[in-house]
């Protein structure tokens, strides 16, 4: 037994598992309290109070929500493809959670699961996998509204994946690395968002982030006004809960990436290294507030307008931005 424990492989796996568990739990906590925050903030924006019945200030609302979802009747429509119907909600959550494995929350090793040298690519890969949940959920429900929602989202996500990827490239050019830790280190003195092309890239990234996470004003796949609830029309109980969780986990993971890429990650003044992660979470909170704020302010775009925005505005802008950044970086390297 002792020998087994001293095997470095085993120890590595053990510690990695512990870190994964801790970070996963922490992020799930953040997710559920983001739902609470969203309802509370929305309430105050809309001249009402929001949840205030469960616990002090309604703080136990997320627990009550989840408990309610667990006890709801689970409904599987006739003619649904059962296996895929079950798998889809899981697919909604998993990619978003995987992204957390490469996010550096603080300068210490203990505050990240791993430092992957293609960390940014992993994020892009996971966000492109995320579309499956919605497409399959929509298709397997055997419902026209859900199918339309699924079709919409597949087109929408492919279209917005591109500007998103392209808006990351200026950061890669400036940092010279795909590792998120490296990228944060490069921003110790000057956040990338403070450069003109960094700012533009950040703006594009945030817009595409809204689209990738299906948040208003780009929540077309689930536009409740025309498609009832889009891809999750037929979902109930915890399966619906998983979609819900997936959306919020996505919002948080994408905000984590935005903080890392553009806002300097854990970098910030005053605090000692041990508490630098506070900066990370402050920035994260600011971005999350942005997401909520936008959602309760803007109406929804129409499908064709969304496509036009992606292909005719964001994509050329992002391409031009890459070009300009490349020239600047090259010119600087020349001295």
């Amino acid at each position: 037994m002792a020998a087994f424990w001293h095997d470095p492989n085993v120890r590595m796996v053990f510690w990695a598992l512990v870190k994964i568990l801790v970070i996963l739990q922490a992020m799930l906590g953040v997710v559920s309290y983001m739902i609470y925050a969203e309802r509370k903030i929305a309430g105050h924006m809309q001249a009402r109070v929001g949840p205030n019945r469960v616990g002090p200030l309604g703080l136990f609302q997320p627990i009550a929500d989840v408990a309610k979802l667990f006890f709801k009747e689970e409904f599987i429509p006739d003619g649904a493809n059962k296996v895929i119907f079950h798998i889809a909600p899981m697919l909604a959550v998993i990619p978003a959670l995987i992204v957390f494995s490469v996010v550096p929350f603080g300068p210490q090793d203990a505050l990240r699961v791993t430092d992957l040298n293609v960390g940014l690519l992993l994020f892009l890969a996971m966000s492109s996998i995320g579309v499956y949940a919605i497409v399959l959920g929509g298709w397997s429900s055997n419902n026209k509204y859900a199918l339309l929602g699924g079709l919409r989202s597949s087109a929408q996500m492919i279209s917005y994946e591109l500007p998103m990827g392209l808006s990351c490239i200026p950061v890669i050019l400036l940092a010279g690395s795909l590792s998120l830790v490296e990228i944060v280190r490069m921003q110790e003195h000057w956040w990338f968002v403070a450069t003109p092309f960094g700012l533009l890239a950040f703006a594009i990234f945030m817009i595409t982030a809204l689209a990738e996470t299906n948040r208003a004003p780009f929540d077309l796949p689930e536009a409740e006004a025309e498609l009832v609830a889009g891809f999750h029309t037929e979902y109930s109980s915890m399966k619906f809960g998983l979609f819900f969780l997936g959306e919020f986990a996505n919002v948080i993971s994408i905000s984590c990436i935005a903080v890392t890429l553009f806002l300097g990650g854990w970098n910030g003044p005053w605090l000692p290294d041990a508490f630098k992660f506070v900066w990370f979470f402050l920035k994260l909170a600011a971005l999350l507030f942005f997401f909520i704020w936008v959602r309760w302010t803007y109406p929804r775009l129409r499908y064709d307008q969304l496509m036009n925005l992606g292909w005719k505005v964001l994509l050329p802008l992002a391409l031009a931005n890459v070009l300009v950044t490349a020239i600047v970086v090259w010119w600087r390297a020349q001295g």
Binding site: N117, L124, I158, G165
Partner: protein, 195 residues
């Protein structure tokens, strides 16, 4: 551990590939193909080709297969009908040919089986192989690289033209846009290389 992972990924790959061609439902086929691609990405990771692995997921799983699914759903395909003598004959012939091919491969390898070089000299071990690939791609393979981008452009234009096509009054926008999306999905390659 590597061996165990290899065995797992290889089994997954072969199993999923088989399901791709065996399953009657095109959606299921596509999903198994996605899984096959993901296990391929795992194999690439085992081969220390991280960049290729990620691009595999982004391009194949994230773009190409979504496009496949989009088309399958758009055409609203159900289970395939595979009946009739002609179909049965062709299936038999296909399987026999396939087994022959496999047998041939086995025969070819038999007696020449060598494990090959076990451990290769380390390639760019520090910063991952992204930078190294970029170096190679933009120096030695610059010309083919440019040709590829032209190919993508041609494919994009072609897809848009075909999809707009002669279709009697059908809306051409959606599939065209997606085809174009797919053609462009390879764009991150440029980026990664430049780093």
């Amino acid at each position: 551990m590597t061996l165990a992972l290899f065995a797992a990924f290889a089994a997954l790959l072969v199993g999923c590939s088989l399901m791709v061609i065996l399953h009657r439902n095109p959606v299921a086929s596509a999903l198994f193909l996605v899984l096959a691609f993901c296990s391929l990405a795992g194999l690439y990771l085992l081969l220390h080709a991280e960049f290729v692995a990620m691009v595999q997921v982004i391009v194949y799983a994230g773009a190409i297969m979504v496009l496949f699914l989009f088309v399958i759903m758009y055409l609203n395909l159900r289970h395939d009908v595979e009946q009739g003598i002609a179909v049965a004959v062709r299936r038999g012939a296909g399987w026999i040919l396939g087994i022959l091919l496999l047998a041939e491969t086995v025969a070819f390898f038999k007696g020449r089986w060598a494990e090959g070089p076990v451990s290769a000299p380390d390639l760019a071990p520090v910063a991952g192989n992204t930078q190294a690939i970029g170096q190679v791609l933009y120096t030695r393979y610059l010309f083919p690289f440019e040709i590829t981008s032209v190919l993508l452009l041609v494919a994009m234009v072609g897809a848009v033209v075909i999809a707009k096509g002669r279709g009697p009054g059908l809306h051409p926008a959606a599939p065209a846009a997606d085809a174009a999306a797919d053609a462009k999905a390879a764009a991150p390659d440029h980026a990664g290389g430049e780093a």
